[in-house]
C-alpha cells in the first residue's frame, strides 16, 4: 500500500459517523434546497414565485414580527436579569441557582409550555378565574392567548432565560478594573457606561438578540399546541403545506417555505458570528 493511502486509512474510521449524518442531515437539507426549485418532479420556479404571494408573505411577516419582538423583549429583560446576577457574589447561591434554572427554562418549550399558559391564562385558567372572581376583570377576552399576542407572551418565557445563558459570559468579561480605572480618571457611573461599558457590551448584546431571533423564528411546537385556527406564522404554514388535503400536491411549496427559513436563519446566524468575533477578543 502506498504511504499516501496508508495515511488516509485512519480517516476510514469516520465513515460511520459521516455516513449517518449524510443520510439523516445532509440529504434532508439537499431535498429541501433542490425540492424548492422543483414542481411535480420537474425543475420549476413556481414554488419560489409562490413565496411572493400574499398567502405566503403574511405568515413570513408575522414570523419575523414575532421573532423580532420576543427577541427584543427577551434581550432587555434577560439582560437586566443577567446584570442583577453578575453584580452579586461570584460563588453565591443566587448566581448558581439562576444559571441552573435558566438552563432548564431555556429548553422548556413546545407543548408543555403551551399548556402551562393555558393553565394560567386560558378560559378556565387559574389567573383568569382569580381575576374574574376577585376583580371582575376578564383577561381572557376573545382568546388573544391563541393568536399572535399570546405567542409573544409565551415565547418570552423561554427567550429571557436563553438571553441570560448567552449574555452572562459577556457581562462576566467586564473587568472590575475598567470600572475602577474609569472612576479614578474622573468618570461618573453614567460616563463609565457611555464610554466604556456600553461600547464593550453592545456587540455581545446585539449578537445575543440575534440568537434569540433565530430561536423564536425556528420554533414550531409551542405554536402548534397553542394555535388551533389558521396558520398565522411560517412554521404553521409549512405544516399546512405538508399535511393539508386542500394543498394536496403542494409538497414542493413546503420545500420552498423551508428554504426561505434556512435563508433567514443563516443570515441571522452570520450576523451573530460576526458580532461575537469582535467581542470575544475584548471580553475574554
Amino acid at each position: 500500500m502506498t504511504s499516501r493511502a496508508r495515511r488516509l486509512l485512519p480517516a476510514l474510521g469516520l465513515v460511520p459517523f459521516l455516513g449517518y449524518l449524510a443520510i439523516f442531515l445532509v440529504i434532508p437539507t439537499i431535498v429541501v434546497v433542490v425540492g424548492a426549485f422543483q414542481d411535480q418532479g420537474a425543475p420549476s420556479l413556481t414554488n419560489i414565485r409562490a413565496l411572493a404571494t400574499d398567502a405566503a408573505t403574511g405568515p413570513l411577516w408575522n414570523s419575523l414580527l414575532l421573532s423580532a419582538s420576543t427577541a427584543v423583549i427577551g434581550a432587555v429583560f434577560g439582560g437586566l436579569l443577567a446584570y442583577a446576577v453578575v453584580t452579586g457574589s461570584p460563588q453565591g447561591m443566587v448566581r448558581r441557582t439562576v444559571t441552573s434554572i435558566s438552563g432548564v427554562l431555556a429548553q422548556f418549550g413546545g407543548v408543555t409550555l403551551a399548556f402551562a399558559f393555558i393553565a394560567t391564562l386560558g378560559f378556565s385558567g387559574v389567573v383568569t378565574e382569580a381575576l374574574r372572581s376577585s376583580f371582575g376583570i376578564d383577561i381572557f377576552g376573545s382568546g388573544w392567548l391563541f393568536g399572535l399576542p399570546g405567542l409573544v407572551l409565551v415565547y418570552t418565557y423561554f427567550q429571557i432565560p436563553l438571553m441570560v445563558i448567552v449574555f452572562l459570559p459577556a457581562l462576566e468579561g467586564l473587568r472590575p478594573q475598567w470600572r475602577e480605572a474609569a472612576a479614578n480618571l474622573g468618570a461618573s457611573t453614567w460616563q463609565f457606561w457611555r464610554h466604556v461599558g456600553m461600547p464593550l457590551l453592545t456587540p455581545a448584546f446585539l449578537g445575543s438578540t440575534l440568537l434569540l431571533f433565530a430561536n423564536a423564528f425556528a420554533s414550531f411546537a409551542t405554536a402548534a399546541a397553542l394555535v388551533s385556527q389558521g396558520n398565522p406564522i411560517q412554521p404553521l404554514f409549512i405544516r399546512a403545506a405538508l399535511t393539508s388535503e386542500i394543498l394536496l400536491g403542494r409538497q414542493n411549496l413546503a420545500y420552498a417555505l423551508a428554504l426561505e427559513m434556512i435563508v433567514v436563519v443563516a443570515l441571522v446566524m452570520l450576523g451573530y458570528a460576526l458580532l461575537v468575533r469582535r467581542t470575544s477578543r475584548w471580553l475574554r
Partner: protein, 357 residues
Amino acid sequence: MTHVATRDAETRLGVELRLEDLRRSYGDLYALDGLSLTLAPGELVALLGPSGCGKTTALRIVAGLDEADSGRVVVDGRDISAVPANKRDMGMVFQAYSLFPHMTTQQNVEFGLKLRGDDRGKRAARAKEMLELVGLSQYAGRYAHQLSGGQQQRVALARALAIEPAVLLLDEPLSALDAKVRAQLRDEIRRVQLEVGTTTLFVTHDQEEALAIADRVGVMSHGRLEQVAAPSELYARPVSRTVAEFVGLMNRLPARVVDGRAVVLGASLGLLEGSISSGEGTALVRPESVEVHAAERGDARVVTVSFLGPITRLRLATSRGDELVAQLASAAAAGLEPGSAVEVGVAETPVLVIDAG
C-alpha cells in the same frame, strides 16, 4: 535606591499626602489597624508586606475605591475622606488588565482629559507628551491586545499621569510581569516619577522592588506599619523581627546578651534598639556580615556553594549544629568547596537580638 542626579529636594513639585489612623475591618478580620503615614511632596513611598497585610486596602482607601471605618486621608491639607473616587484627582495604575480594550493607546491616555472636557488638540498634545515620557510614542495607534504586559503598564502609567494628578498610586504594577521586564520597568517608573515630581504611593510584596526605587519604605504586617525608613536604614537597623526577616536574608544564631552587648559565635557586638536586654536569645545576622576563612582546624564546614556571578553564597554548618548562610565576593570564596573546613565569625556591626524560640 536610584537617583536622578539632575534634581534636588527643593525643586520637586507635588503635594503632601497624609494617612491618619486608618482602620478597616471585615467582620472579625482587621485589614487595617490604625495606619498613619505622611508622604512629603514628591516623595515615593513604598508599602511593603506579605499578602493580607493590608497594603492594598490602604491604597484603595486613598483612591476612594474602598471606605475606611475611621481615620482620614488628607491631601495638600484638605480632608478628602468624603470625596468620591472620581473626584479625587489621583492617578492609579492597577496590577493588570486596566487598559480599555476597545480604545487605542492614544485614546486610553486621553480618556481622563476627555472627561474633563479638554478639546481635541489639547488632548492630543498632552497624550503625545505622556507617551514620549514613557517611550511609547510609536504605539499610539495600537490596541491593548497588541501590546506586551510591560508596554501595557507603561501606557497605564501615561494615562494616570496625563491628568496631572496630585497623587500617583501604584497597586503592585509589576507583579504580573516576568522578572526581566520587572527590573527594567521599575527603573522606568522611578525615572518618570522623578521627572514629573508627583507624590507617589507604591504598593508591593517584592522587597527588592521597594528597596530599589523608593525614597522611604513602610513595612506592614497585620494591618499595621512596623517601620517606615529609608531602604538602607531598614536593611541595617530593622526594629522588629518581622522587618528584619522580610527585608533581605537573615541568619538566626544563638546569642547571649550581657552588659548591653551580644555575644554571637564568639564575637562581641553592639545591640540594636528593640533587642532583649539580657539573657539567651536569637541574633539576626546578615549573610554579608558573616566572616569565613579557610582553616584546617576550623570548627565549621561548608555544606553547599552557590556561585551567583559577582557574589557567592555559602551554606555553612558549625560543630555545634548551627546552620547559617554567608555571602562573599566571589574572589574571596575561591577555593572553598562543599566539605571544606572553615572558621566562622561575625563582623563588627550591631545586631537585633530577639527572644529565643
